[in-house]
Amino acid sequence: MSAAIRTEGLSKHFGSIAALEDVHLDVQPGEIVGYLGPNGAGKTTTIRLLLDFIRPTSGRAEVLGLDVHTASIEIRRRVGYLPGELALYDRMTGEQHCAYLGALHGTNDLSVARAVAERLDLDLSRPVGELSRGNKQKVGIAAAFMHRPEVLILDEPTGGLDPLVQQEFHRLLREAAAEGAGIFLSSHVLTEVERVADRVAIVRAGHLVAFEQIAALKARAPRRLEIHFAFAAPQDALAKIPGVHDVRIAGRVATLVVDGSIDPVVKFLALHEVENIVSHAAELEEIFLAFYAEGNR
């Protein structure tokens, strides 16, 4: 079975600016891959290359085993796309948008679009010019799902959605993945990707800096411990523990950061009288910021 999405050495330069450099990615059928990075990192550039809106400087990309440029029409027949900066026709209703895009897909079946709208609590009968940003986004989501695509490419899909609607949207994503759709989802909302994605790719300044299972990423992530000793905290001893750095002492309280396993720290603490340990679970956000900090060093 072909990968839903595969890129090989994908690069895109705009003049002298390298927007994307040598990116190798894949999304398998039934998998949700989160694509993380700050604004301007190259997320949208990657997505626009997949849709053949822009052409690569070098490297190649395939969707469903087909070349994104030469087989673009066939690909777009089977892909659902939500643009990052969704623009709609203000005077048209949500239903008219779906009818129009449906017609371009060669169908007048709006049942999926209506079902999605219903679940997201969207009124399809109103002109989109009267809708809030979040409701416009729902029109875009309904349109992206309406032809039961085999691949979903979603650029910042939850912008403007309130938390309850986001949850319903995440259920939609999981259902689509369960039915075999490969989903590529860009975001700078880390908790969102953490919640729905199987794997996460992190892009920084056009370079892919990480691409792995979220669990694996978390396992080797730094974690912050706050240790309350029964006596003055032993700074030098703590700093000598393998993997420990950024030790700070405030009287009897030590805070420190541990890379990888915390086992050496636990073994050390077992020899001392400790009143409390507070562990800050590794948030993807910290991992993410760590990746960015590396870039700034």
Binding site: P83, A87, Y89, A99, Y100, L104, H105, G106, A143
Partner: protein, 266 residues
């Protein structure tokens, strides 16, 4: 179905503007043709016209017989006003066609559907053509009624042929705006280029009788191939129509060629 295709949607969403344009054109035709009845056979006026400075005559159709039905229609409508209005309409619609949707951001949504860029642009130029055709037919209908009412002895077939010249001239400028917009992605550039071509084409053509430099360069002006006087007199040059059709095809063809090869703007 109003949203069944790019073409249908593009025509449908402009329905209100068609009404406005139609009303304006009908009004123009009425106020241009109606006075003819009172000026016809007015010797004093005829002498005045004969003594008009060359430049005035040149800019109002370049004809001496301003008071013949053909000369009147040409001077009042076909030499300046209709080409200007048709080109304005077509340039606006042509620039909106691709570059407008690109600037608005809606192009990506539409092109995420299985639709070739060239197909999208061709449906857009077809919608410009349909809109222009509608305006040409409305104008023709208004002319048929008003020329009959004013007692103007000019065959409707001749007026229709002259209108075809206006249509083709409008289409060329619309195609140029669409082509430049498709090639560059910039609506402002599309409007600017097409407007400059239209204005300089008009000036070049109308100065040709006064200035030998303009006369030698006249072939460069699309207006030269849309001279309404011969068709109004029943002597249309279909070769000229062919030139306009070829220019239109070239403008669309080059624009689409570039459109298909470039990166869309984000």
């Amino acid at each position: 179905m109003t949203h069944s295709s790019v073409f249908a949607k593009s025509v449908w969403e402009r329905r209100r503007s068609f009404i406005g344009w139609s009303a304006g054109l009908i009004f123009l035709v009425v106020v241009s043709v109606a006075p003819y009845a009172s000026f016809r056979g007015n010797r004093a006026l005829e002498r005045l016209v004969e003594n008009l400075p060359g430049i005035v005559r040149a800019l109002t159709g370049g004809e001496t017989d301003l008071l013949s039905p053909e000369g009147w229609l040409n001077g009042r409508l076909f030499a300046l006003m209709l080409p200007l209005l048709f080109a304005t309409f077509a340039i606006g619609r042509g620039a909106d066609g691709v570059a407008g949707e690109e600037a608005d951001g809606t192009l990506e949504l539409v092109l995420s559907a299985p639709l070739r860029r060239t197909r999208f642009a061709l449906e857009k130029i077809a919608s410009v053509g349909a809109g222009l055709m509608f305006l040409a037919l409305v104008t023709l209908l208004a002319l048929a009624i008003t020329t009959a009412a004013a007692g103007m002895d000019v065959p409707l077939a001749n007026v229709a042929t002259a209108m075809a010249a206006m249509y083709l001239l409008g289409m060329f400028h619309g195609a140029l705006a669409l082509g430049v917009g498709a090639a560059t992605g910039y609506r402002g550039t599309a409007i600017a280029v097409a407007t400059i071509v239209a204005v300089s084409g008009y000036v070049l053509d109308s100065l040709a009788e006064l200035w030998d430099v303009a006369e030698r360069l006249r072939w460069l002006s699309p207006f030269t191939y849309a001279d309404a006087l011969p068709p109004l007199r029943g002597e249309p040059s279909f070769g000229d129509f062919g030139v306009l059709a070829a220019l239109t095809t070239a403008a669309v063809g080059i624009g689409l060629w570039a459109f298909d090869r470039r990166d869309l703007r984000s």
